[in-house]
Symmetry: C2
């Protein structure tokens, strides 16, 4: 048999960077997915390994079950209480990862493979299985690809652990059981910790629950979007150093405390306004257009404030300038300094305009995605493996 | 004999737009001048007219003294008490301007010609004279060309009125007598009122006194720059509607009062910090570089906040992006929506870089000026007319 799961990526709608200094931020799911398929070996199958296949990267890893059990046996606890991978356990995992000779150019994947091994052993135990992963999310560009990976892996494995209730008779993709989301989210967070050290927990929570999340000073509130929302996401493909960008904002805050504190207050007001706007009901096309205009204005304002913090980049400015020609408003999303840029696509915007914008952006070497914002969280699908 | 005067233009270093909402702003003189030459007819001369020649525009106007006296005789008061041109008087002036058949395409000059007639009659009286005006300042692009015009005209005429003390023996350009600046500035302001309706008084004050001015809620403070400062001024040549831009910021403030009030507070902090920075002494190259970096950062922050207010423009973004390639920081100056952009030119920057930036900007159809910032105010020169 086969279990599939798909988990969405995330964007930051407002408040990135300022959230580090106490402002409210809003994150939302995007309907670009990381998909995981777990196939159990049939009883006749003699294969006694765990296989991990990263389809987009054309990489495949496998470990004998005995090898994994030897390395991690003493660290793995019960599925019902998600546990952190200790420093010692991480060392053991590292030795498993080293077995695989990951190509030097892709060594950044090692932490993802480690997270996989921890989640697989903890949730599924020391039994063979074949896991195939593919993703529509660009890696390391701020769209929450690692969280979607951890959520999707956890979501596909949990139904096989016997610890969660699942309706296996359902045909087609189904939303994960509400009751089980908390456990799933906790496991995904443990995976994220292996990849990121100290993740905020926002990415995995958005990927798990979908919709939107308002967060401030570490407390997260799920909010329900009442607005059909579509964005063009442009990946500038310019790599960023998130830590350096965050440090840059902090240093600027030390140099100009009064000005920056007002800037963070402005961002806080924008995030609060945006979250109210998104939750308020849409009555008709006219009220939708009005809401879109207000949202565009809030995005433009937030972008100006991010420029004020010094986290923009020439590539981001190019996207802004290009979309502005089509009267479309954009803002960077995430850390800035490259990475991804959001462009609001009003619901009544003509497809031709969208095509032209995309053609122009792609001619600059950027990669474009059209994504629905604030949709479903993680989903699963049961099928026969064939 | 001949009297020449030259009056500098101005830039807004920080705080444009926000100043309307109570924030501090800083303006500075730029060493781009409007020059006026007044020649008195020799006693043998039979010419009984006032001539005004606008050299850059290849326009010349003239009025018989009798015609001017007939129109304005009853309105003109003493030189020592600068008086506003009343609505009735303005009508009389309008009839004088109509005599001249200003070309339709240059009808915007009519208010400047009106201001000239008021200043000439009020300061010089109803006597013949030949006034030639030329300017390095682009018209109507926010560099204070109209104020420089009023200041230079008043400065050249006042020594001929007998109401101010002047050392006519001085050779070369000399700064205007300190004691007389107030009277001069008041007259220039009366001219500005004819051109702009309700001017802030900042442009004429900067052009008169030079250096820099900090202003907030209508109160102006002269500040002394202790920093050699050079800017590249790029005229995007995109015409703006200042009133519409100011109204746009006000409307945005009504829609997002909390966020915008924080934005204005941030601008206020930036202007205050900038004015302290500029006044503090420079000890050596190192401290100059440090100050320049801080100033660049404040300019970048202010630009982000202006973008947040919605007064940027594609042409401005092009300048920002172009200068950013050379690691130079820019901000719009004045109303935005086109107009002029400032780029800080660090004192140790190589001339080759400057040449390349200018070449690239001019290839976009922009016009570039290099200007010293915060220099002298209005100056005069006495000479024999020959």
């Amino acid at each position: 048999m086969e279990v599939k799961a798909r988990a969405p990526g995330k964007i930051i709608l407002s408040g990135e960077h300022a959230v580090v200094h106490g402002s409210t931020a809003v994150a939302a799911s995007v309907d670009l997915y990381t998909s995981v398929s777990v196939r159990l070996p049939s009883s006749s199958d003699k294969d006694d390994t765990v296989k991990l296949q990263l389809k987009d990267l054309a990489l495949e890893f496998s470990w004998p079950i005995s090898r994994i059990k030897e390395a991690l046996g003493e660290y793995v606890g019960p599925v019902s209480t998600p546990a952190s991978c200790s420093a010692e356990c991480l060392k053991s995992i590292a030795s498993l990862v080293e077995d695989q000779n990951i190509p030097e150019a892709k060594i950044g994947l090692a932490s993802g493979v480690s997270a996989f091994l921890w989640l697989y052993s903890s949730i599924r135990g020391f039994v063979p299985g074949n896991v195939v992963i593919s993703s529509e999310l660009p890696l390391g560009s701020g769209l929450g690809s690692s969280a979607a990976f951890c959520v999707a892996v956890s979501a596909a494995l949990l139904p096989l652990s016997g610890s969660v209730n699942v309706d296996r008779e359902h045909r087609g993709w189904k939303v994960y059981e509400q009751d089980e989301l908390e456990l799933l989210n906790k496991w995904a967070f443990e995976g994220e910790k292996i990849i990121h050290g100290k993740p905020s927990g926002i990415d995995n929570t958005v990927s798990t629950y979908g919709s939107m999340i308002k967060f401030r000073s570490g407390s997260l509130t799920l909010i329900k979007s009442n607005m059909p929302l579509k964005m063009l996401i442009t990946n500038t493909k310019v790599g960023r150093n998130t830590k350096a960008l965050v440090a840059g904002v902090s240093e600027r805050t030390i140099r100009h405390p009064d000005a920056m504190s007002s800037v963070f207050n402005a961002v806080d007001s924008i995030s609060k306004e945006l979250s109210i706007l998104i939750q308020s009901p849409v009555h008709d096309d006219l009220s939708l257009i009005e809401k879109e205009e207000k949202l565009a204005e809030l995005m433009e304002m937030n972008q100006g404030l991010l420029q004020c913090m010094g986290v923009s980049h020439a590539s981001i400015e190019t996207v802004l300038r290009t979309t502005l020609k089509y009267k479309l408003v954009s803002k960077l999303t995430g850390a800035g300094g490259g990475g991804c840029v959001l462009t609001l696509l009003p619901n009544l915007l003509s497809g031709t305009v969208v095509d032209n914008v995309i053609a122009e952006l792609e001619s600059c070497g950027f990669e474009c995605f059209i994504a629905g914002i604030g949709g479903k969280g993680v989903e699963i699908l049961f099928g026969d493996s064939s």
